[in-house]
């Protein structure tokens, strides 16, 4: 059963005369990591704000565990990392996490343990009583934002640009956290511009532009939609560039692949799926091309991002 159902959601900002979201529908399963991607101003954060009951939809229906997001019973299930880290700057980290632990209704007996665990989880190794929120760098703010999002032991986590301001170690930490969510059956809705990160952890993505979902698919199906690989082989004796080019084109045709570019020692190949690519490489080896490297381009989401942009 879907933990989140969004049906024909629309949101208009009357004063700005903007249709921020138009007839968006999707479902999210329990334990799924669901990505919302799209260019700036696409409506991703507005969708998230509707799901969090921070704004009222103009029309449409949202259900979280079968209830309206405005229902009081839904709130304890939720953890939220906002895009803009506007936190209570006067508090120290310990006060800030205590504040959100108490607000989320968790037992006071577990408080210190939960705070310690959340700080470990976000890999923030500082004394929480010594540093105020206003003294933290952007990356550290992002980490305590994540800590407060998970401190209430939520069932659904909404992460709006989680990698924003993060260093590479922060990227890895978020990836590990999302993988742990999957293991524990926690549902995550991720709004991100970092497409590679989305590719690595999301089960499904919705591509949003102009307030509409243009594509909704699983990451597996994205990977199957196209595979670009640069293959390299050891220099071949006795074959001219033209002969090699003819051979590559012939094998590509047989195996339903496309040669994008080639030279004497390498070729960039596009295949419809992984199996066809494997057959193509097998055939090259049969024809005495000693393939020693295959570099996947993995540009599916980037291409989607760019191609959709060009289509507009």
């Amino acid at each position: 059963m879907s933990i989140i159902t969004v049906d024909n959601l629309s949101k208009n900002f009357r004063r700005a005369k903007i249709k921020a979201v138009q007839d968006v529908s999707f479902t999210v399963e329990q334990g799924e990591v669901f990505g919302l991607i799209g260019p700036n101003g696409a409506g991703k954060t507005t969708i998230m704000a509707c799901l969090l009951a921070l704004i009222k939809p103009s029309s449409g229906l949202i259900k979280i565990e079968g209830k309206s997001p405005f229902d009081f019973d839904v709130k304890p299930l939720i953890g939220f990392l906002p895009e803009r880290p506007c936190y209570n700057r006067w508090m120290n980290i310990h006060q800030f996490l205590t504040y959100h632990h108490m607000l989320s209704g968790r037992s006071s007996q577990d408080r210190e343990k939960d705070i310690k665990k959340a700080l470990e989880e976000v890999e923030l190794d500082i004394d929480p009583t010594k540093r105020r929120v206003k003294e933290l760098s952007r990356g550290m703010l992002q980490r305590i934002g994540l800590a407060q999002a998970i401190i209430g032991n939520p069932k659904i986590v909404f992460l709006d640009e989680p990698t924003s301001g993060m260093d590479p170690l922060g990227f890895i930490m978020i990836r590990k956290m999302l993988l742990r969510f999957k293991e524990q059956g926690i549902t995550a809705i991720v709004n991100s511009h970092h497409l590679l990160e989305v590719e690595k952890v999301c089960d499904r993505i919705a591509f949003i532009r102009g307030g509409k979902i243009e594509q909704l698919a699983s990451m597996d199906s994205f990977a199957l939609q196209g595979q670009e690989v640069t293959l390299s082989w050891l220099p071949v004796a006795g074959k001219s560039s033209d002969e090699l080019s003819v051979l590559l084109q012939q094998i590509a045709k047989e195996k339903n692949c496309t040669i994008i570019e080639s030279n004497l020692e390498s070729a960039k190949v596009s295949s419809p799926n992984k199996e066809q690519l494997a057959f193509f490489i097998q055939e090259l080896i049969k024809n005495e091309l000693m393939v020693y490297e295959a570099k996947s381009e993995r540009r599916e989401l980037v291409d989607l991002f760019l191609n959709k942009g060009e289509n507009k």
Binding site: L54, F72, D73, L103
Partner: protein
Amino acid sequence: MMKPTLLNKTLIRFNLWEKVRAWRVGIPVLLFVGLPSYMMLISVIDSTEPEAAARNVWHIFDNATIYFLLAYLFISDGLLTGRLTGEPETLNLLFTRPVTRTCYVFSKFFCGFVGSFSVLLISIALTLGIATMIGITENPVDLQFVLSIAFNCLIFAAFYVFLHTMPSLLGLILYLFFSGCQTIGDIMSIGYSASAPTFFKYVKDAILFFNYWFGDVFPSTVDFSLIATSFYACTELIVVYLSNLSLFLFLAIFTLSLREFSYGAD
């Protein structure tokens, strides 16, 4: 399973305790606690008429500004953040937690009232102690005096909560508007002249119109002894007080319920 409540213990703890532990709020609170007793001491010592000087000091507790500032200290984060309006942008994260908007309003109101009243009670006790020490026997502190302070704390807490729940700029504009409507009437009624040019009369009428309709919205301090001695004569005062109190709280809840927390939603 959590149940919706009217008061949130986290908001109460952080507004009444954690905030006061920070020096930016702690020091003003100590000033409010200690200043009347200090003034009692120096004004009486320095005066040839100590009883009259002491009476003047007790009038500090009639000052509307004190109640407004105390409500501000306990309701807003303004002093802690160095920004007049505090941190309204933290509300979007707060309202993803199990806190209803009604609960937020009542919790802030409760903090404003309890914080102000506690500070003033301690301040009165200190002032009374000092007055007794220096031999002042006449003091106005009785149940009616304490009740007046309680009622003042209530109305100013409600008024500040009402301003606090508005989008930042609107709150400031409303504050200036209501305080303007209250004070402008006094100024204009002094300057009336039958021979003044017609244009100025129209301007005056327009201003008095606002004073008539909105002049009572900005709270004035209440003297409970007047109500106790002549309840029926003070009917208007009581009605205005009660209607303002309920109106401020209703409007605070209503405004907050309408507000959306996203980019440019205000």
